[in-house]
């Protein structure tokens, strides 16, 4: 069976004042149903642009895709005409963004916003509203169902509320309800809990996990919080400067990171046993994407770099399912898991 999503060697360049920036440099990612993939990396590594590229939401220009495929159930979305893409977006591919405040219309009632999305989704697939005639009433019923499913109390009464009457966590729930209304097969969540308190974050992540279990969808969770990945995701892909440098099941990648970058990233997160003053930072800075270093882009900051790193390493399996793009991975530890 074809994977739900298969990104193959995706390249993305952006025209800037300084020249052409090679923002994505051969991203490879495969997501199957039932999997929650964490996409992690520092700011500017291309994780959000990877997410946006899947739903073709990167404006072009400045973006340009010189190479690569994004196969959604075997069909390349890069080749789809805008109208078909429109049908896919929001219906089969749902998105949730970081800031729940700016992604809701402040002048429209929550209910109307949900009903609009439901009717639009039904326009592409009438079964969303159970093929019933008189879409409006069915859409309203669906909006109530979705709100109660994401844990909003008194959903029927809340339809008449405006976004400002909701707390940040509740607004994020509304956005999740909105993203799920068209019954998407793939959900892309870009930092969905970054703006929220930890207690609310825990609820939202539990909701996300429940949704995957109940509806057998695939999720890409874009985040910079490795704790969130460790607790929520089944798989993780680590990005550095436009490349996926390591990917695999969470237990293997977080438990026994093979790529020097993954190790450095994990070492910079304080843990319960970290003694004061013993946290390891990562020296150096992310490379200039207009003039990236040749080969492995992490090499200039890497303690293990050699002359071999001047050519770009490919993702290779160090264990079944656990792949690393590095000539000098930490294999001893990986083998122990």
């Amino acid at each position: 069976m074809a994977a739900l999503l298969d990104i193959r060697d995706l390249h993305l360049t952006m025209t800037t004042f300084d020249g052409v920036a090679h923002v994505l440099n051969g991203v490879a990612l495969t997501v199957r149903r039932g999997e929650i993939w964490g996409l992690v990396g520092e700011s500017g590594c291309g994780k959000s642009l990877t997410g946006l590229s899947i739903s073709r939401l990167v404006p072009s220009p400045p973006a340009n895709y010189p190479a690569g495929e994004i196969l959604f159930e075997g069909e390349d979305v890069m080749q789809l005409p805008p109208r078909r893409m429109q049908a896919l977006r929001g219906k089969r591919i749902g998105m949730i963004f970081q800031d729940p405040t700016t992604n809701l219309n402040p002048t429209a009632r929550i209910g109307d916003q949900l009903i609009d999305v439901a009717l639009a989704a039904a326009g592409h697939d009438p079964s969303v509203l159970g093929n019933a005639p008189g879409g409006g009433r069915a859409a309203r019923a669906l909006a109530i169902t979705m709100l109660s499913r994401v844990g909003i109390p008194e959903p029927e009464a809340r339809l008449a509320s405006y976004p400002h009457e909701f707390s940040g966590g509740m607004r994020q729930r509304v956005l999740i309800a909105m993203a799920l209304i068209g019954r998407p097969d793939l959900l892309i969540a870009d930092e969905p809990t970054t703006a929220l308190d930890v207690s609310v974050q825990a609820q939202i992540l539990a909701l996300l996990k429940g949704t995957v279990a109940d509806h057998d969808i695939g999720v890409i969770l874009i985040t910079h919080n490795l704790g969130v990945v460790a607790e929520t995701c089944s798989h993780v892909a680590v990005m550095y400067a436009g490349n996926v440098v390591e990917r695999g099941p969470v237990a293997q990648v977080i438990g026994a990171p093979a790529h020097p970058y993954t190790r450095a990233l994990l070492a910079s997160v304080p843990r319960r046993e970290t003694k004061r003053g013993e946290l390891q930072g990562l020296p150096g800075a992310v490379p200039d994407l207009v003039r990236p270093p040749p080969g492995c882009r992490f090499a200039p900051r890497c303690p293990r770099a050699t002359a071999a790193c001047a050519t770009l390493p490919k993702l290779e399996a160090v264990l079944p399912l656990h792949e690393v793009a590095c000539y000098h991975p930490y294999l001893e530890e990986a083998a122990l898991v």
């Binding site: 930890v198 438990g255 910079s268």
Partner: protein, 269 residues
């Protein structure tokens, strides 16, 4: 009694109800009988979720806000009763590093102007020639891991981590002994956060600073702070040594908060 550098005694802050378009609102009790004491030389962490009152408390300590009731004592002196001159002198001793290094540095000023601004403001306390101020700016920059070569640059030429270092250098310029750190690393990537946290520890060891660290990130607070206070709905929930609070929390709220914080840990180990 005076070993506390900062003492907060029964502080309450109530924002009165305002008559709005749709009638009277309700008053907001941002702080309710809040008390805590910070000892000289320690790192004290204040942890709370959004809306818990931690910002109101910080503003009250800086006297940007006057409490409705209670006292805030800096070395035994009530901050609210200081005259304008004494208040300015206090502000030289008590400085703040802000959360957002992108918004808290004036983009039109050079790094030298930014870092020496407190010296200019407090020139009555610490008179200095212009050349001496430049030297001092270079010293401050090297203290935070930057150098004299950065003096003439503007904030936009620096990364987030470097900007936060500039913010720290500015806070140190007037020679304070108490630093209020308002989520200084929450806008930074983890790798950069680690560098800034280590810089803060290093500076504390070298300069004997006292830190009042405001954060919602429990892992960071645990790493940096000797003692912690949890604030919720404007009330003190629990306070004590970090180790005790994190290993054996006494209240349900503390337990809930600690359980909810995601940890980098693989299940089953």
């Amino acid at each position: 009694m005076s070993e506390s550098i900062l003492e907060i005694r029964d502080v309450s802050k109530i924002y009165p109800a305002r008559a709005g378009l749709f009638g009277r609102g309700t008053e907001v009790r941002a702080l309710q009988n809040f008390s805590l004491a910070v000892s000289e030389g320690e790192s004290f962490g204040l942890v709370g979720e959004s809306g818990s009152g931690k910002t109101t408390l910080t503003r009250a300590i800086l006297r940007l806000e006057v409490p409705t009731a209670g006292q805030i004592l800096y070395r035994g002196e009530d901050v609210a009763r200081l005259g304008p001159k004494a208040l300015r002198a206090l502000r030289a001793r008590m400085q703040i590093v802000f959360q957002d290094p992108y918004a808290s540095l004036n983009p039109r000023m050079t790094v030298e102007q930014i870092v020496t601004e407190p010296l200019v403001i407090h020139s009555d306390l610490m008179p200095m020639s212009k050349a001496r101020r430049r030297e001092r700016a270079a010293e401050l920059l090297s203290l935070v891991g930057l150098g004299a070569r950065h003096l003439r640059r503007h904030p936009h030429e620096f990364s987030g981590g470097q900007r936060q270092r500039i913010g720290i250098a500015r806070a140190l310029a007037s020679g304070p002994d108490l630093l209020l750190l308002d989520e200084p690393t929450s806008a930074l990537d983890v790798s950069v956060q680690a560098q800034v946290l280590n810089l803060l520890i290093d500076l504390q060891n070298r300069l004997g600073l006292t830190y009042f660290f405001i954060s919602h990130d429990l892992a960071v607070v645990r790493y940096l702070c000797d003692r912690v206070a949890l604030i919720h709905h404007g009330k003190l929930v629990e306070t004590g040594p970090s180790e005790e609070i994190f290993e054996a929390p006494k209240t349900d709220y503390a337990r809930m908060l600690i359980a909810a914080a995601p940890e980098v840990r693989v299940r089953g180990d």
